[in-house]
Symmetry: C2
Subunit: 284 residues, 2 copies
């Protein structure tokens, strides 16, 4: 499994616009808030096991019932049409509408927290369907920065280090579909899959290299960091990674180096604990 | 009018706890989002002219109807009891429940945006009634940092440069009451007012002076600032002001100096425009 553009489908912009208007009035949850550096990442469950709305934390759902639209999902005619026409609902575990603006997510790996479930109930495939986006809505996988566009369907390898960014007030809205493990050959989509591997060149965000001077200035924040602004400084480093190529591992290496240089054992321990939590223990 | 502790009343903690539980399930608005550096400041209107819920932006309400509980307010038995027992509802324009966590507000002055309304419809007195708070929930007025505690009622001079901070995950919940201009002698509260002037010593947050080295390190962020992280850096400076005494005017002077030192005309202009908006044009 690798992150790749699965394919494209034709969007009905009028129907989409009606659903986006309904979505803008949703009462969102703010689960996984510890991942956000900026405005909280918001989520509304639209299909779940038994149609239960819940609180948006995936590990709290009982996945043994058939996947059905929630109270939110029943209000979204076009999203329902997209799900039923283009995806194999039989293997669907969750569908969520997620909204981001002025926010970057801490680079992390996923799926470990669901490991105590059986194969049929465990999220094995995560697909993303952008519903509203902009040029400042970006994704990161290791040292690759890319854009997903409306009309595209993406498959993500969430076990690799990844993050998302909305460096703008504009609300980026994605439909995220989580599927159970179906065995290698089972298809999850009902449209012609793009057989090209990986992330197309036209989706890549080209970045200039980070200069040595910029790197030193960023490390200089070791003299400013404290427990009150720790998350702000982590957010600044993540944003720099989205705009400048500073090599794989830049975010966590820089955050840990700043924390070490601060000379404050509490800050250094906090950085190492977060690194352990987001990067090391979340994968197998 | 000066910012001062108006008085105290005895809290019924059991009734308060029931209301706080109801409040935790409110569908909040996020008005004035441009003031937040961190998680958005959230507000739920509980009394308004005619009981209209609206969107939380005060200038959009028609204040000519009597002030009544909204759909939110009708769910809060104890807040209603507090308002009716301790305040002169006749002069009330708005009551709001506001929630903050992991956030600092940009230092600003208030009330200019309502100036086209007549005297009876215009907010002239802003009272704050803390419902849930912590030692890391702080307030700023010019170069004074202080705490408001549950059971206290405060009158704020919102025309002076002020800000609020919740340097914690803990949700700080306040009831804010806005009253019309009643003439000097009219009382707004129905309890014995504390006649001592200003902010009591026991409410002040003592801060060590900011060292010259810390000041230089903060100015060093001029080499890191860009349009993506502008608000993050503003937030870091505001937090430093809450924890260290660096003199009156520190926040805006430092933000404008960092922006000037960045050498980027877009950043410098942005800082000056924000200063104009938050500090100069919001007062008369």
């Amino acid at each position: 499994m690798q992150t790749r553009l699965l394919g494209t489908f034709e969007i009905d912009h009028q129907k989409l616009s009606q659903d986006l208007d309904v979505i803008s009035h949703f009462d969102f949850d703010e689960p996984y808030i510890e991942f956000s550096c900026g405005y909280p990442w918001k989520s509304a469950m639209v299909w779940t096991s038994g149609g239960v709305l819940g609180d948006g934390v995936l590990s709290r759902y009982d996945n043994r019932q058939p996947c059905l639209p929630t109270a939110n999902g029943r209000k979204l005619a076009y999203v329902r049409e997209i799900i039923q026409n283009f995806f194999v609902v039989e293997h669907l575990l969750f569908a969520r509408v997620v909204v981001m603006s002025n926010n970057v997510l801490v680079p992390h790996r996923d799926f470990l927290e669901l490991e105590d479930k059986s194969k049929d109930e465990k999220v094995a495939h995560r697909l993303q369907v952008p519903l509203a986006t902009s040029e400042d809505a970006l994704f990161m996988e290791e040292n690759v920065i890319y854009r997903m566009r409306v009309g595209e369907v993406w498959s993500l390898d969430a076990t690799r280090l990844h993050s998302a960014a909305a460096l703008t007030d504009h609300k980026r809205v994605h439909l995220i579909l989580d599927f159970a493990d179906t065995g290698k050959e089972t298809r999850l989509v009902k449209f012609g899959e793009d057989r090209s591997a990986g992330i197309p060149d036209t989706n890549l965000a080209k970045r200039p290299a980070l200069s040595a001077g910029d790197r030193d200035a960023i490390l200089g924040m070791s003299k400013v960091i404290d427990m009150d602004n720790f998350k702000d400084i982590l957010g600044i480093i993540i944003k720099k990674h989205y705009r400048n190529d500073a090599g794989e591992g830049f975010v966590w290496e820089t955050m840990r180096e700043i924390s070490r240089l601060s000379g404050d054992p509490e800050i250094e321990a906090h950085a190492n604990n977060l690194y352990e939590h987001y990067v090391l223990s979340r994968t197998d």
